[in-house]
């Protein structure tokens, strides 16, 4: 890496180096995450985009060390958070980080709340687990958080059960819980996938606003390129457990370099553009990540595949301004642009 200035605007908060998470199955070893590295600065919003099975969620579960083991195992790499490697910490220290320093919002607001407990019980429990305050103060704090995320009549609603809230409201409750301990990093794993567009707009606005207010760094996992465009400073595109491209959001959309990124951006129908005839589409299916041979995993679907793509995984090449791409097209002296 020659050009680091893109990262220097931020104080480094989280650094993931060469993270590898494998799952042992009867069919073979699933390399769900296979050697990925990225950095997250203070107050930065990082997007991780990819299709299902590309390893987005496993990446973030690995950061929190929430991978069920067995069958999963973090086999290599380090996750440096404020100078400490999370992967080496004892379980007790880890509990202190989870929820307190790094917290998470999950995709499905229906399943991430306990249906048997009142919202108040669940929120107070979360807060008191991490902070040494009385029940009364914790309740007050919960009400404040619910107000902050825009739940009307928070004093009364807090005593309701999850089923009394709608999907969007439940996701707001989750955000309130995640932010109630003033976490430094918020990991949002497809926070709006289960929601409607109008509610999605509300929730994204809310995350953005709160992140700014509380100076929280956000890792946003999504498959929606539109959401990334509006929210993120930096984007990592994942494919088959690897980061194939990483760039500032503007650079990525203006100049998508990896054929997969290019195809992905092109294949989304656009509201604001006139269309005629066919959509661009990437042929074929995402690969099975079991026992993947050492090759570019995208080569069977790539329209620019060369011989070398079938035999060797491409190294990551820096194109300047923090724009990194893992593709053989950019490693030769012939710098082909693909138009």
């Amino acid at each position: 890496m020659t050009n680091k200035n893109s990262q220097e605007n931020y104080d480094m908060l989280l650094e993931v180096n060469n993270l590898k998470t494998y799952f042992k199955t009867d069919a073979g070893i699933v390399k769900a995450v296979d050697g990925i590295s990225f950095k997250l600065g203070k107050g930065e919003t990082l997007g991780i985009v990819g299709e299902s099975g590309s390893g987005k969620s496993v990446t973030n579960l690995s950061i929190m060390r929430l991978i069920p083991s067995p069958p999963g195992k973090i086999v290599d790499g380090e996750v440096i958070f404020e100078g400490r490697d999370i992967l080496q910490l004892p379980e007790s220290a880890l509990r202190n980080i989870r929820g307190n320093e790094i917290s998470m919002i999950f995709q499905d607001p229906m399943t991430s709340l306990n249906p048997f407990l009142r919202i108040s019980t669940q929120m107070i429990e979360t807060i008191r687990l991490h902070q040494d305050i009385s029940k009364k103060d914790a309740l007050q704090k919960s009400v404040d958080m619910l107000k902050l995320v825009g739940i009307p009549a928070a004093e009364e609603r807090i005593h309701n059960y999850p089923h009394q809230f709608s999907g969007g409201m439940r996701q707001r409750v989750m955000i309130a819980m995640a932010l109630s301990c003033e976490a430094k990093i918020l990991i949002a794993d497809e926070p709006t996938t289960a929601l409607d567009v109008t509610i999605q707009a509300q929730i994204l606005e809310l995350i953005q606003e709160l992140a700014k207010k509380l100076d929280t760094a956000v890792i946003l996992i999504t498959h929606d390129l539109g959401v990334v465009a509006g929210m993120c400073d930096t984007v990592c595109v994942m494919y088959a457990g690897k980061i194939v491209e990483k760039a500032k959001t503007e650079d990525l959309y203006r100049n998508p370099s990896h054929p997969y990124t290019y195809g992905l951006i092109q294949s989304v129908p656009r509201l604001d553009k006139a269309h005629d005839g066919k959509l661009y589409s990437i042929e074929g299916q995402p690969p099975n990540v079991i026992d993947l041979p050492p090759c570019c995993p995208f080569h069977p679907r790539c329209n620019k595949a060369m011989d070398i793509c079938r035999n060797q995984y491409p190294p990551t090449k820096d194109l300047g301004n923090g724009h990194e791409v893992a593709c053989w097209l950019f490693t030769d002296e012939k710098e082909q642009s693909h138009e």
Binding site: E205, H223, G230, L264, L271
Partner: protein, 337 residues
């Protein structure tokens, strides 16, 4: 797609209502209310066009389609398809007409029987209608076999896979199986209930292209449901925007996006993210407050009243009728009175 101008619409839906009773009591059940999933909608679908229905979850999109297909018995209203009123026709006649109306479902994992091979799945509509005696003599088992192979190739599946089971296929391939099944009876209209929303972006565009090609080749008519506005805009000739069981706006796809009239359509369009950071960050959003209200109670005013940013006194107690703005654009809002 849009040049198919036919005098008589292929499908005419008139004041369709679908209410589901809410019951109380253990032994002696009595009805204490109704979920008004679809509450009086009317539209036409012309031959060769695609009518897109867009709306949030719970707005009655899927119920509309299922009522049209007579999978539910509509509470009132009529569905005239190909000259036959499906709601009031005798069962035999309804079944015969419905042969020309097939569905594609949202979830490619739930809509295929895991114990059936691909061949049986695709041939099922044929064998059902054969048993009913509604197919002509030429549909012999050998012919059906050939038809299955032909369909598989048409939707981009290798015909060598016909003895495999659904779990051996990926989501996109399963959706292709579902499409092949829908095409088996050579239908005139396909009711597609969110056919691409469970799929990944790269697979989604493959399926959209396939549907597009099939329409051109076979002269199909689509009634296409989606919650993704960009997808609807891409595939549709005309678009109906639904909210709480009512159609709010009905217009040609291009007009709707250029010139949305209803406040709900405007909000919906402004909430849809656009995959371009420069445009996306400059956009002014209309953020609606609150959630979609419950469809359980009867409404006497505009259905969108609770969340409307430009509501007026009049909207509270008067239901706005569909008003025709020009040849292709209708809107149900008092702002345009």
């Amino acid at each position: 797609m849009s040049n198919a101008i036919e005098k008589k619409p292929l499908l005419e839906v008139m004041d369709l209502k679908q209410h589901f009773p809410i019951e109380s009591g253990f032994i002696f059940k009595r009805q204490i209310g109704a979920v008004r999933a679809v509450d009086g909608i009317s539209f036409n679908v012309n031959e060769g066009e695609t009518l897109g229905i867009v709306g949030e979850s719970g707005c009655g999109k899927s119920t509309t389609v299922r009522s049209i297909a007579q999978l539910y018995r509509p509470t009132s209203g009529s569905v005239i398809f190909d000259g036959v009123d499906l709601v009031h026709a005798p069962t035999q006649q309804m079944l015969d007409a419905r042969k020309n109306m097939q569905m594609i479902f949202q979830d490619p994992y739930a809509s295929l029987d895991p114990r059936m091979t691909v061949r049986t799945i695709i041939a099922e509509p044929l064998s059902i209608y054969r048993k009913r005696g509604m197919l002509d003599e030429s549909y012999t088992p050998e012919f059906i076999e050939k038809r299955v192979e032909e369909l598989m190739e048409r939707v981009g599946l290798n015909k060598a896979f016909k003895n495999r089971y659904p779990h051996e296929f990926s989501g996109g391939q399963r959706q292709r199986i579902g499409i092949a099944r829908a095409l088996a009876l050579n239908p005139k209209i396909i009711l597609a209930d969110e056919p691409v929303s469970a799929l990944d972006v790269s697979i989604q565009s493959q399926i959209l292209n396939l549907l597009h090609d099939l329409q051109k080749e076979l002269g199909l008519t689509y009634l296409f449901i989606a919650h993704d506005l960009a997808v609807i805009e891409y595939i549709s000739t005309r678009v109906a925007v639904m909210y709480l069981g009512k159609i709010m706006e009905l217009s040609r796809a291009s007009d709707l996006y250029k010139n949305p009239l209803h406040p709900y359509t405007k909000a919906l369009l402004s909430a849809a993210p656009i995959p371009d950071p420069e445009i996306e960050r400059k956009r002014q959003r209309i953020i609606l407050t609150g959630d979609v209200p419950s469809p359980n109670k009867e409404r006497f005013g505009c259905y969108f009243y609770d969340r409307c940013p430009s509501r007026m006194e009049k909207c509270k107690s008067n239901i706005p009728p569909m008003k025709r703005m020009d040849a292709h654009h209708e809107v149900a809002c008092w702002l345009y009175e």
